[in-house]
Amino acid sequence: MSLVSLRHPLASTSEQLRVLGQSAARRKPFVQALVESQLHPLRATGIQTLQVNVGKLCNQTCHHCHVDAGPDRREVMSRETAAACLRILDEGDIPTLDITGGAPELNPQFRYLVDGARALGRHVIDRCNLTVLLLPSQADLVDFLALRQVEVICSLPYFLADQTDAQRGAGVFDKSVEALRLLNAAGYSRPGSGLLLNLVYNPVGAFLPPAQRAIEADFRRELARRHGIVFNSLYTITNMPISRFLEFLLRSGNYDRYMDRLVNAYNPAAAAGVMCRTMLSVGWDGQLYDCDFNQMLDLPVNSGAPTHIRDFRAADLRARSITTGEHCYGCTAGAGSSCGGVTAA
């Protein structure tokens, strides 16, 4: 169940921010790290990606989920808001629509968004949990995605069942393998198909990801050897100390150590390349954010620019100052972390 359904105190973003605020009092505040790196105030350099979170509804309830998504969540994007997102793409030059959730495919507007963006010639990314592809209601989903040349970025925290199921639920690994086979069979990651199938690794616990290049090689070797699965690239993503992962950190007594690890591993090169500088995040209700993590902490864009999709003006947003907090250390530790993997060479 989600933290919301459990009526857990950490379902409240103000409680999460309170915990993170205490961290700032005991460690170097993130803003200070930015100042020392000559990156303050952190500014966007453009909008290359419109990342639309269509809602919190999901068929899984992963233990680390920063969205606190699950089958019990009912927040979903309306047609009106989805239409506003397409209007932004139509009127501007943002090249990529990145659709996330929850399980975005379960949102009634998902296919409308995909079709609309593809008709405009935009690159479309589906952030897929894999198991959704096996739901009876989604039997035609793989073909839908393939026909429209949608890039699929799939969550798979490890190439073994124990670790994957520990994070994402019992039986998820086997279903994920089955879903990856369906994607491969539809042409994904096959030479000449143009169909991109990328994977996301994130640590199954309170530690940083390994070197992206090294773990990608492991995944490529092991998924091919054990299951005959191929993919294009693997992205490593650091677990953000918010929502369910924050609850895990506190419950397991790992919070202080994990925050120390993130703060001590602050990398100015990773900070310079954070994804919020080139993306804009849209919530299910049309609210605008600098990233999906800020979205889940109820920290909307706060640069004086419009804060809702209906008032979108690219000129006001493409060089906006970015709202930061202690959670941002999650994107700047080590080689950095983003929806596209590491941010520092």
Binding site: L160, P203, F207, L208, P209, A211, I215, R257, D260
Partner: protein
């Protein structure tokens, strides 16, 4: 002796350099170079370190290199095998000294 080792001690390892800064500098530089990727990968070195940590039974090292091995992408299956390697060498080292025992016994026996 309960509470002899503490988690919060390890981050203060550098205090050892307070009264021998040049030795600490040399150690730190060498230590960093040892664990950098070379003919062996960083992951292989972390697994070796994990095994050695168990052989020398250093709680700080076990803590640090369990974390490091996970952060290099190793899994518990691999890490457990590394501990078995260390254990096998420790056990084997004891057992092979049985040859010394036999030599001594042979020498003093009729």
């Amino acid at each position: 002796m309960p509470g002899y080792y503490h988690d919060h001690d390890l981050p203060h390892f550098a205090k050892i350099g307070d009264h021998a800064p040049e030795l600490w500098r040399k150690f730190s530089e060498w230590y960093g170079a040892v664990f950098a990727e070379g003919a062996l990968t960083e992951r292989e070195k972390a697994l070796i370190a994990l095994g050695v940590a168990h052989a020398v039974q250093c709680p700080y090292c076990i803590d640090a290199y369990t974390q490091a091995a996970l952060e290099k992408g190793s899994n518990l299956e691999q890490m457990t095998e590394a501990v078995h390697v260390a254990s096998a060498i420790r056990g084997g080292a004891s057992l092979v000294h049985g040859l010394q025992m036999r030599n001594v016994a042979d020498k003093v026996s009729m």
